[in-house]
């Protein structure tokens, strides 16, 4: 079946049925609010959000009660940073996916699929393993920022290689992109495996965390470490809206429309690397968010990046929080890696999208 036939069957005689941008943004925001409340309320300890007023007043008055102290620990030092980390990771991975798909003009481009996440993970793992050894002089001055900065460069190097390989001759070839991405991902994985040999037991435990992803290690220093990245992404993303919309027609067409193509590419690469790098540094490799979330937003509201980017951020944050809630409740008191939950949610959704609409790719 051709992609046209797929489009026809999926969209009822080719008419567009869409929600308004406001509906999609508000809907996603409401969903995120629900997810935040649920994420703060649910957990194996049975402490709920109803304890919050007590905890806050105790924190202000300085009361020391064992029960309240425990509630305080769970709510303010475990669940709150974990929820904030989930918001950041979900939003930035979804944004990174949307940006890459716009940049490469293909809905299949995803930081996880084309090796950007693996590249970021490799650099993060290298930071952990070599951080006290040969790389110490460079990494030590960076303090808590060493990990996200290293992952940022890992993501950036991978993206630059991808753009160079797949973007020769002025047009990006998606087949080349995906194959190059698979190769780069495999190489990063192999090098990460190599580093495992050089690591000690404690580091090795850290390393397993990268392969599946988890929000489990969330704490306030980590939130502080990703804050500058969050600000950077929030500043860069709006600059991309017009450029990425133009890119949807093609690179030459974007230039004809008056878009500074090279500048758009540069910003897109930095924003993607910052998003993926910081997310991977703090939560490991979590797949599917970057591919599923922008897909759903485009299905609902169309491909305009003024909706796709903020919509993906809100919806991605909500989806990751829900996945994390499942991850920590389903086998309690143990915890599943969130990557497993995301794969379980993401795969059927993605396959359904592919079957229903086609990937909308080549014509």
């Amino acid at each position: 079946m051709t992609s046209e036939a797929l489009h026809l069957s999926g969209s009822r005689a080719g008419k567009t049925h869409r929600m308004s941008p406001a509906q999609v943004i508000i809907g996603s925001a409401v969903l995120l609010a629900v997810a935040i409340v649920a994420s703060l309320s649910l957990g194996p300890t049975g402490i709920t959000l109803s304890s919050l007023p007590r905890v806050l007043s105790a924190a202000i008055s300085g009361t020391t009660d064992a029960t309240i102290a425990r509630e305080q620990l769970v709510l303010l030092d475990i669940r709150l940073p974990r929820t904030l980390l989930g918001i950041f990771v979900g939003a930035s991975l979804a944004i990174a996916g949307a940006i890459m798909q716009g940049l490469f003009r293909n809905p299949l481009a995803d930081p996880g699929l084309v090796g950007v996440s693996s590249g970021a993970a490799l650099f993060a793992v290298a930071t952990i393993v070599l951080g006290n050894g040969i790389a110490a002089p460079i990494l030590a001055p960076l303090g808590i920022y060493a990990l996200p900065v290293a992952a940022f460069f890992g993501g950036m190097v991978t993206t630059l290689i991808l753009v160079t390989i797949a973007g020769r001759h002025g047009q990006l070839m998606i087949g080349t992109l995906l194959l190059a991405g698979i190769a780069l991902g495999a190489l990063s994985g192999a090098l990460t495996g190599l580093l495992a040999y050089a690591s000690d037991d404690r580091q090795l435990r850290d390393l397993t965390f990268w392969s599946m992803g988890s929000l489990g290690g969330a704490n306030w220093p980590k939130i502080l470490a990703i804050l500058p990245f969050g600000i950077l992404i929030a500043l860069l993303t709006p600059l991309l809206i017009r450029g990425l919309n133009g890119f949807l027609l093609g690179e030459a067409e974007a230039f004809h429309l008056g878009i500074n193509v090279e500048r758009t590419k540069r910003i897109a690469i930095v924003a993607t690397a910052a998003s993926v790098g910081a997310a991977v540094a703090m939560a490991g490799v979590i797949g599917f968010i970057g591919i599923v979330v922008p897909h759903i937003i485009r299905l609902l509201a169309g491909p305009d990046h003024r909706v796709v980017l903020p919509g993906s951020a809100l919806f991605g944050a909500a989806l990751l929080l829900f996945a994390d809630i499942i991850a920590r409740l389903i086998v309690r008191p143990a915890e599943l890696p969130i990557g497993i939950v995301m794969a379980a949610i993401g795969t059927p959704v993605f396959l359904h999208l592919v079957m229903k609409r086609g990937i909308g790719g080549s014509e």
Partner: protein, 266 residues
């Protein structure tokens, strides 16, 4: 005026076009014709500013094209590509609105919306406004892109002495007889309204009917330039295309039309 001064383009030591001297005057439809591989697309890219000449110059009102920013250039000239594969489900309206050099296309101001619909009406596709671009026929897509280019030029606030430039890359390539006429009629109409229009055309007969001026490109050089009657001559065309070409004239209008020799061989 968009002008080429001894412009040449080389890549990897290979000369694609050279010694190009031409202008696209406002109010005229210039047809760029020539055999496959003659360098027509390269010349269009040079004239659109997409690539820079390796020697010589392309100027707009006397200023080198490369000194314009992409944005400034987009206010003066629009390009209709030969074909564009869209990977995302756009509506026709959204593709047209991409021509409005504004941040996006979701909720455009009312006057832009009106202009976009005007442009769709101009190309006769108003009824398809909410259809998905990917479901259109080749001819309809071509016209949507023309509407998009028209909106781009209509949006730009230009001074009286800064007419817009419309460049079309084989706008009739995938069209049937009737739509070839519709599209070129529209291109000519835009020229008459003051735009400087250039179209790459493969069909010399269409060029003969619609173009004010023909530029014949052969092996990267302009081998003939002038009115259809001046360019469409047996010896000129036979040399350029490397096959025997016979020019005739329609009995009633006297417009040149061309038959290659293989027609006679049957």
């Amino acid at each position: 005026m968009l002008t080429a001064h001894a412009a040449a383009f080389q890549i990897n030591g290979k000369t694609l076009v050279s010694d190009i001297n031409m202008a696209i005057p406002p109010g005229k439809l210039v047809a760029l014709v020539g055999p496959n591989g003659a360098g027509k697309s390269t010349l269009l890219k040079l004239l659109s500013g997409e690539i820079k000449p390796t020697s010589g110059a392309i100027t707009l009102d006397g200023r080198a094209l490369s000194s314009f920013t992409a944005l400034d250039l987009s206010r003066r000239r629009a390009v209709v590509p030969q074909s564009t594969a869209l990977s995302f489900p756009f509506s026709v309206r959204e593709v047209v609105l991409l021509g409005a050099t504004v941040p996006g296309f979701a909720e455009p101001p009312e006057h832009i919306e009106r202009m976009a619909l005007d442009c769709l009406r101009t190309v006769g596709l108003l009824a398809l406004e909410h259809r998905l671009f990917t479901n259109l026929s080749g001819g309809e897509r071509q016209r949507v892109h023309i509407a998009r280019a028209l909106l781009q030029l209509a949006m730009a606030k230009r001074a009286e002495n800064e007419p817009g430039i419309l460049l079309l890359d084989e706008p009739t390539a995938s069209l049937d007889l009737a739509h070839q006429g519709v599209v070129l009629e529209e291109a000519l109409e835009q020229a008459r309204k003051g735009l400087a229009v250039m179209a790459i055309l493969h069909d010399l007969n269409l060029a003969a009917v619609f173009a004010d001026e023909l530029v014949l490109l052969s092996a990267g050089r302009i081998t003939a330039r002038g009115t259809p009657a001046e360019v469409l001559k047996d010896d000129v065309l036979s040399r350029a295309y490397g096959c025997e070409v016979r020019t005739n004239r329609t009995p009633s209008e006297g417009v040149p039309f061309i038959l290659p020799h293989y027609i006679r061989a049957r």
